[in-house]
């Protein structure tokens, strides 16, 4: 078995190999990528928990660079499943991609090496270094989407930098105060620290990296812009995996430095700090849900949904009781899979139609049925409807919120949950159902290579929905590791203080119901199949059925209620233009092109030098 250090090195070198291979042949390079990532998945799957390695030492004796924890392994497996499936998808997808395929493949591997490091690093500094590698890789991929996506990449990296510098600041403060950096030691020192203010500062600043990455309010604006512009298949990685890196940091900030033990209870056993974070999650859920409802660009819509689901994860993790924490972790899995599925199906749609605007499409189910199935199962999971796995995590989060008596948060999560029906239905109705546009009448289903990973996701989602034991087992081990009471489950039955439910029974009953309905359907006379253009039109004739597809302003009536909403994006735009104005002003002042300006500044500098007698 290869060591983790070597694995990361293989990826770093592999990225160069991949670049050269892809230059030679696009498909060959992608296959290489897929194989390498699958190998990594194989390695990580079999790796033992507790395994430690030293990769390098920057500060002597304060870092124990790599260690396999249950938490890290769980996140790594989820991430690598998503990335390996997407890598398989890319084999075919990359054929149509004309902007820098070689660089794309090579940066993907670079990013994976960063990701591996992040999930297995055992101290704050190593985590930071790998974090930046991952960000670098993804940052370089984002501008390869649309032509105007350079700006998106900059917004992405700036937001990420805000988070990671705050994180770095906290790291150095810890090093200055305690002289150690590894997680266990830090949590011990923090537990003994008397200064509440310092603890608040450390955890909030560390969490802020996660907040920026997983798109929690107030650093959520990058998600829409980046997702809207990133390469289509990469959006699946971005939302399915990179955002989960943020959740990982949040999980570390909240559970590895156990907030419930560090702070006193504020409300039913939830510390104030967690409460503040939960409220950030709440606001994210509201923003994500309501903004997703009004999007017309399907990728931006799901980007906003990622914000809302990031909020869910934060709420679940923030409660820090056994059910809530498990719900948060389970939601990481669910959302990673569901978002990847949805973005892959979108990538397939864009692959064939070339647009992401919902109202420019319609009726694609008649041309791309399997893509539709992927999207359908994806949204059922995303909206948290049984029998898919998405419901399990939502149910856990609801249960823990009820038992904690956090009703406002509960109401907001309900809004997020019901709101998700609304926004996921919009692409369903606009893109896949309805009237087929004439210009798309000869669109075909995507090739089999792209379908395979999509359908594997479908199977995985339903399988885990019916039999959630594998995920629950690893959650139990994580909870044991971080010292939270583990949830009770027995394969298909999950127990909470509020009651239990059996995934298998629900699935069986659903099948029975479906069979009853199907029998009723069978025994009565068969329907006459008519064309999609044989429609009720109030008795009038219509020939251009492009006009008979309702997609623009799908929820106009509810959007109207918050047309004049405050927008953080606009606020940040204003800040940007303010800084730009300042910069322009300074530029005018400093780099004035006239000679007199230079003379003026030189005089000033000389005067200052004289004045300070330097």
């Amino acid at each position: 078995m290869i060591s983790l250090t070597n694995l990361i090195l293989v990826f770093l070198i592999g990225s160069i190999v991949s670049y050269l291979l892809t230059k030679a042949n696009k498909i060959l390079g992608s296959i290489f990528n897929f194989l390498l990532i699958s190998y990594a998945l194989y390695v990580v799957w079999n790796i033992k928990v507790g395994h430690e390695e030293v990769l390098f030492r920057i500060l002597r004796d304060v870092e124990r660079t790599l260690k396999v924890t249950n938490l890290g392994k769980y996140f790594a497996i989820v991430s690598l499943i998503v990335i390996s499936f997407v890598a398989f998808f890319i084999i075919e997808w990359i054929r149509k991609k004309d902007i820098k395929p070689a660089a794309f493949n090579s940066f993907l591997l670079l990013m994976v090496s960063g990701i591996l490091g992040v999930f297995f690093s055992n101290d704050l500094l190593t985590l930071y270094i790998f974090w930046e590698i991952a960000v670098l890789g993804s940052f370089l991929i984002v501008p390869m989407g649309k032509k105007e996506s350079k700006r998106a990449a900059i917004i992405y990296v700036v937001t990420s930098a805000i988070g990671s510098y705050m994180y770095l600041f906290a790291t150095f403060s810890i090093y200055q105060r305690y002289g150690i950096l590894s997680f266990e030691q830090v949590s011990q020192y923090l537990a003994n620290d008397s200064s509440n203010l310092f603890k608040w500062f450390v955890i909030l600043f560390i969490a802020s990296a996660g907040i920026a990455k997983s798109g929690i309010f107030p650093l959520h604006t990058w998600l829409r812009i980046t997702h809207g512009n990133a390469p289509d298949a990469f959006s699946a990685v971005l939302s399915g995996q990179l955002v989960k890196m943020g959740s990982y940091v949040l999980a570390i900030a909240l559970s590895v430095f156990p907030t419930t033990q560090l702070f006193s209870s504020f409300y039913h056993g939830v510390p104030l700090l967690n409460y503040v974070l939960i409220w950030l999650g709440n606001i994210s859920i509201l923003i994500g849900t309501f903004m997703a409802i009004r999007q017309n660009d399907m990728k931006q819509l799901i980007a906003f949904s990622s914000i809302a689901n990031g909020g869910y994860i934060l709420v679940g993790l923030g409660i820090m009781n056994s059910i809530g924490y498990a719900g948060g972790l389970f939601h990481v899995f669910n959302h990673a899979i569901a978002a990847a599925m949805i973005f892959l199906s979108f990538a397939a749609v864009v692959y064939r139609t070339g647009t992401t605007k919902i109202d420019e499409m319609g009726g694609l189910i008649w041309r791309m049925p399997w893509t539709f199935v992927t999207y359908l199962v994806g949204i059922i999971s995303l909206a948290g409807i049984p029998p898919t796995s998405g419901f399990i995590s939502k149910w856990m989060i609801f249960s823990s919120l009820v038992s904690k008596g956090m009703f406002i948060t509960l109401a907001i999560t309900f809004i997020g949950s019901v709101g998700s029906f609304l926004y996921v239905f919009r692409p369903l109705a606009g893109v896949f159902l309805g009237q087929l546009k004439r210009k798309h009448s000869d669109v075909k289903e995507v090739p089999i290579i792209m379908l395979v990973p999509m359908l594997l996701f479908v199977i995985l989602t339903i399988l885990i929905g019916v039999y959630p034991k594998p995920v629950l087992d690893s959650i139990v081990s994580i909870e044991n590791e971080v010292g939270i009471k583990a949830i009770e489950h027995s394969g298909t039955i999950i127990k909470t203080p509020l009651g239990q439910w059996n995934t298998l029974t629900v699935f069986t009953m659903f099948s029975v119901g479906f069979i009853i309905a199907a029998i009723l359907y069978m025994i009565f006379p068969k329907g006459k199949k008519v064309d999609l253009t044989d429609q009720y039109t109030g008795g009038e004739y219509l020939y251009n059925y492009d006009l008979y597809h309702y997609a623009t302003g799908f929820y106009r009536f509810i959007e109207r209620l918050y047309d004049k909403h405050p927008s953080f994006e606009k606020l940040y735009e204003k800040l940007v233009s303010f800084f730009r104005y300042i910069g322009y002003f300074t530029y005018k002042l400093v780099y004035k092109t006239s000679p007199s300006g230079y003379v003026f500044w030189i005089t000033i500098v000389i005067l200052i030098l004289f004045w300070v007698r330097w």
């Binding site: 420019e360 009038e540 219509l542 959007e559």
Partner: protein, 367 residues
């Protein structure tokens, strides 16, 4: 991009009658709208030129279904104007009673009928059932429920017997007693207020410019009623008021119809009181009425129908048949310019309310 074409009619449940509005909708707001009339076009004006003066009596009520008597009165009055026939006084009073009863019948259908677009079916059910009582009066008077063919040039066909007068009085008492129930059901309901107020606005200048008449005009605050401005029959001899409202929205139009029922009841009661005894018709000519010829001439007669100015322009060349009859449908302006210019901007929810309170009435537009 993104426009959806929705159809209101002809078999759309939100459409009254056989008429079609093609709407281009974006989101839930109508962006453009086009009226498509002609589904009920029968060529009345041509058919009337092909029939004898007296034969036409059977044809004309069928121009307007909800309130056929206005056609008969218009037609009779136009002939009387050209031929300068003096109609017995009693006949004129009876005509007024018939007209006002027809007005009540039409209003009883149209103002609770707002329940259709609103989903308040109880009110429409009640309204139609109460309207049936007035149809019963017509039935006992003329023998027909809908198309009476009762008013003929030179008077009316039959006298109003005391028994029927009694029936009218009783029915009016009943309807007057029922009206407060409607007020409770419709006009005191806050949901109705939120649905109707501020919807389908038409201001005074627009209404006057378009030539909108009737309730649509009076809801904008001007008391213009042909019964007052250009009195026909004996409307200058009875005492009644013209209810007006100032908002010009759907609610005020519906409410005005409700108030007009009270005025009609008042008029009928006065008519029954003031009606003198005497003949109810004069013979038009010696010999067969079918061979009757109207002297050469032209006339325009208009009366106030439930939807506004309803007029007949009649040309006679002295022959056996009318030379030309042109009908002015009361809802012509709303139906065309209104739908085209003022329907856009309305939301889909409010389109049926718009169409029903603006009194878009297909048969009289198509003819």
């Amino acid at each position: 991009m993104g426009e959806v074409k929705l159809f209101f009619g002809p078999n759309h449940p939100g459409m009254h009658g056989n008429f079609s509005v093609h709407m281009y909708v974006e989101g839930d707001t109508v962006e453009r709208a086009r009226p498509l009339p002609g589904f009920l076009h029968r060529g009345f004006e041509k058919l009337m030129e092909r029939r004898l003066w007296y034969q036409n009596l059977a044809l004309i009520p069928r121009i307007c279904v909800p309130e056929p008597d206005i056609n008969e009165v218009c037609y009779a009055m136009a002939i009387e104007k050209i031929a300068k026939i003096d109609v017995p006084e009693r006949a004129q009073w009876i005509r007024m009673i018939i007209l006002e009863l027809a007005r009540i019948a039409s209003h009883m259908m149209s103002f609770p009928g707002i329940g259709g677009p609103l989903g308040l079916y109880t009110s429409s059910f009640w309204g139609v059932a109460d309207r049936d009582r007035i149809l019963d009066i017509f039935e006992s008077l003329t023998g027909a429920r809908i198309y009476h063919m009762f008013i003929v040039p030179g008077g009316v066909r039959k006298d109003l017997t005391p028994k029927i007068q009694d029936l009218i009085v009783k029915t009016l008492d009943y309807i007057e007693g029922r009206l407060p129930d409607y007020e409770d059901l419709i006009f005191k309901n806050r949901i109705v207020h939120t649905r109707l107020k501020g919807i389908a606005l038409l201001d005074r200048e627009t209404a006057l410019e378009l030539g909108v008449t009737g309730v649509g005009l009076r809801a904008t605050g001007v008391p213009y009623d042909i019964r007052k401005v250009d009195p026909y029959l004996f409307y200058d001899k009875v005492d009644f008021e013209i209810p007006t409202a100032t908002d010009g929205d759907a609610y005020s139009r519906v409410y005005l119809k409700y108030l007009e029922i009270y005025q009609s009841i008042k008029i009928i009661r006065q008519c029954l009181e003031k009606m003198p005894e005497g003949k109810v018709n004069v013979p038009l000519s010696e010999g067969s009425a079918l061979r009757y010829k109207v002297p050469k001439g032209q006339a325009y007669v208009h009366i106030e129908s439930t939807r506004g100015e309803y007029g007949y322009f009649m040309v006679s060349d002295g022959g056996e048949k009318p030379y030309r009859v042109a009908v002015r449908g009361a809802s012509y302006p709303q139906t065309f310019i209104g739908v085209e210019k003022y329907l856009p901007g309305t939301r889909i929810e409010d389109v049926p309310i718009w169409l029903s309170t603006m009194d878009v009435c297909a048969p009289e537009v198509d003819r």
